[in-house]
């Protein structure tokens, strides 16, 4: 039989191993940083639609991580989502006329906030608010948009549609009655010029 | 002479079978009292009743004037410190060596220093003649030796009453002789009151001061060993002399032998 002292040291080692395991789980696996929030400042941005953005989603400038989303609340009067971004104090020279957009990492990845810097000589500071924001792209809306345009163009050149486009047209034609109404609601709310802009940004980002 | 244990009109049932059906026993202080009877008559149960581990359905058991079964848990534990019990299998803690086994009740109930505990344990081990075996584990002991260790442990707290559950059964003649001598000398030297439960007739009669014989849930005879030996009651004689047939039948109750055989043929 082992002496009490030996047993106690083994139990101590066991406990130590478990604590180290927990620390690894916390920092290496789940990337927990909220206990030790790095020094930084909070800025806010309002979006019409934040998509799948969550608290602790990354905030990036040119693809480089500069901070994280610290809270998301709904403004009760404007019904916009007010997102608070916690930005590391190392990045304290971001122009205050920059715009914030919600982008998607890859085709099906998580959402993150991308800040596009502009040229102002005054910088963002604690409590600043982004003037220009771009909402998240919702795949369903984009597809709806696409179908809308396709059906418009196919109306203009009905004869030129190839056999491969036929099934697609058929489905849109069959669901025309249903899709007509949502399209009508989507278009005025988001507005075509607004939707065009993030699209270009995506391509830009992908080029990076 | 005062009575340390008084058992009056105790009834006890287990699984619907009456084990005791009105038993009266008094155990005088400072004497060796033997309780004998065939196997299965609940002799061990009787010891557990005295120790407060079981509760009688009816009747009263007092130990040094206190009713065992109306005591609070705390007082019962206090009373148990004055009792030692030697279980049939010894009941030694298999994860502790001989020394630690005997030191166990001292460590649990006293605040003595390690030196004091060591001395006390060695005294107890010397009494049972196993001072040299202090570092052995219980699995390394022979049956007789582990009973002697258990005996040393039972007297570690210097109890007033010590109960032996079949201390002699299954022992070779030498260890039986050793145990008989130990029981007698410990009783006389320490001023203990001893209760022996046994079915080894001759050895038990040789050390007991007073004998009770129980069978079928009742006391069928009691007296000094000599008086018991002279008793002519048939049931008592069958037990004491070891006759195969008598009031306790040789055959387990069954239907007539002929009929049983015939039934087998028919089907």
């Amino acid at each position: 039989m082992l002496s009490q002292r030996t047993i106690e040291s083994f139990v101590g080692l066991f406990l130590l191993a478990a604590i180290m395991a927990l620390l690894l789980l916390a920092f290496k696996v789940s990337g927990l940083t909220s206990f030790f929030k790095p020094a930084g400042y909070d800025v806010s941005a309002s979006f019409d639609d934040i998509g799948q953005l969550k608290v602790r989603s990354p905030v990036k400038v040119g693809g480089v991580l500069v901070g994280e989303v610290s809270s998301i609340v709904l403004d009760p009067s404007t019904f916009k989502a007010v997102v608070t971004l916690h930005i590391n104090s190392r990045f304290n020279e971001i122009p205050d006329d920059s715009s914030a957009g919600i982008l998607t990492a890859g085709l099906l990845g998580d959402n993150y906030v991308a800040i596009t810097p502009m040229y102002s000589q005054t910088f963002l500071k604690n409590g600043s608010e982004f003037q220009e924001t771009h909402s998240a792209m919702i795949l369903e809306k984009l597809i709806g948009q696409l179908i809308y345009k396709l059906s418009n163009s196919s109306d203009k050149a009905t004869a030129s549609t190839s056999s491969t486009e036929k099934p697609a047209e058929n489905t849109t034609a069959s669901s025309e009655n249903k899709t007509e109404k949502p399209k009508a609601t989507i278009a005025p709310v988001s507005g075509t010029p607004k939707l065009e802009k993030p699209k270009t940004e995506v391509t830009l980002h992908e080029n990076n | 002479m005062t009575n340390l244990v008084e058992i009056s009109n105790v009834h006890f049932q287990r699984n619907g079978r009456a084990i005791f059906d009105g038993v009266d026993i008094v155990i005088p202080a400072g004497k060796v009292t033997a309780i004998m009877g065939p196997s299965g008559t609940g002799k061990t149960t009787l010891l557990r009743l005295i120790g407060g581990q079981l509760r009688p359905d009816q009747g009263k058991i007092t130990v040094s004037g206190q009713n065992v079964h109306t005591l609070s848990r705390k007082l019962l534990f206090k009373l148990r410190k004055k009792m030692g019990m030697l279980f049939q299998s010894g009941g030694l803690f298999t994860h502790l060596n001989v020394f630690e086994n005997i030191a166990f009740p001292l460590r649990e109930h006293t605040k003595l220093s390690d030196d004091m505990i060591r001395s006390l344990v060695l005294i107890k081990l010397e009494m049972v003649g196993l001072r040299g075996a202090r570092d052995l584990m219980p699995s390394e002991l022979s049956g007789g030796m582990s009973r002697r260790v258990a005996l040393a442990r039972a007297i570690a707290l210097d109890p007033q009453l010590i109960m032996y559950d079949e201390p002699l059964s299954g022992q070779d003649p030498i260890s039986m002789g050793v145990l008989v001598k130990l029981i007698r000398t410990l009783n006389d030297a320490l001023g203990l009151t001893s209760v022996i439960v046994s079915h080894d007739v001759t050895e038990t009669l040789s050390i007991a001061d007073y004998v009770y014989v129980i069978a079928n849930g009742k006391v069928i005879g009691h007296g000094t060993p000599d008086a018991i030996d002279q008793n002519k009651a048939a049931q008592l004689r069958q037990f004491l002399d070891g006759l195969p047939d008598g009031p306790v039948p040789f055959h387990y109750p069954a239907k007539a032998f002929n009929q049983d055989l015939l039934e087998g043929i028919v089907t």
Partner: protein, 260 residues
């Protein structure tokens, strides 16, 4: 017909009685003024017997389970071109489900059965009775340290299992299948939430640990003191614990996901 109904009724009453006894046992062990000076060394001994001695099986199983999940997950994810998501897949399945459940099952087999057999044997060899006759309460001296020892060991074992399993997945994914180490960890970090995944997994393991050790202790304490009785009690201890773990896992997961 009547006899069947009677048998069913008797079975029901017996089951209820067992449950009641088990509840009483737990109650009497937990709601008792602890004796720190005597109880702590005993509890530490049991943490050693139940926790430290289970480490080997936990570490080895954790490593292999992590490796297997990584291997399986890689080939499935590769079909969708999402092999980069291997880190999140492994980390989420391990911290949420596999870690607590597999650790608890192994714990029931390794430590729970040992505790049941030990207590049952102590009962059969009259060690518990003689302890009681020495005015020492077996609940306090034997049952309570084992219960607390198991209670403390389980979450610690789960944390170690989780870490080892994720490291095993790292070995397979990064070192063998050649995924990028940075992507492996950073994808994991963005998907795994410390509270929702890691802490909830550990909460599960605490519940499992208590249930497993409770069943083990109870089966040992109520075992029939014969060799067949102890064998039966040990089997029951493992079977009941495993069933309880899997059943409770569903309930706890539903609670955590449902946000109760």
């Amino acid at each position: 017909m009547m006899t069947h109904i009677t048998a069913l009724g008797r079975w029901g009453i017996d089951t209820l009685e067992q449950l009641g006894k088990a509840g009483l046992l737990l109650f009497r062990v937990i709601f008792r003024v602890p004796n720190v000076k005597k109880g702590l060394p005993l509890t530490l001994q049991q943490v050693y017997a139940e926790g430290v001695l289970s480490l080997l099986i936990i570490v080895v199983s954790g490593l292999f389970i992590g490796m297997v999940v990584a291997l399986q997950g890689y080939h499935t994810l590769a079909k969708f071109g999402a092999a980069q998501q291997l880190g999140p897949l492994v980390a989420l399945s391990v911290t949420r489900e596999l870690g607590p459940v597999v650790t608890a099952l192994l714990f029931a087999g390794r430590a729970g059965s040992a505790v049941t057999a030990e207590i049952g044997l102590m009962k059969a060899t009259e060690q518990l009775s003689s302890m009681e006759m020495m005015a020492v309460d077996p609940l306090q001296r034997v049952i309570s340290p084992r219960l607390w020892g198991g209670f403390f060991s389980m979450p610690l074992l789960t944390m170690i299992f989780n870490t080892v399993a994720i490291y095993g997945a790292y070995l397979v994914g990064v070192k063998w299948l050649g995924l990028d180490a940075g992507a492996f960890w950073s994808n994991m970090q963005t998907s795994v939430d410390f509270h929702a995944d890691v802490i909830n997994g550990i909460l599960k393991s605490i519940v499992f640990g208590l249930v497993v050790i409770w069943i083990a202790v109870f089966q040992g304490y109520e075992a029939t003191p014969t060799s067949a009785g102890i064998a039966g009690a040990t089997t029951r201890s493992v079977v009941y614990s495993s069933l309880a773990i899997l059943g409770l896992d569903f309930v706890l997961t539903a609670m955590m996901i449902g946000g109760w």
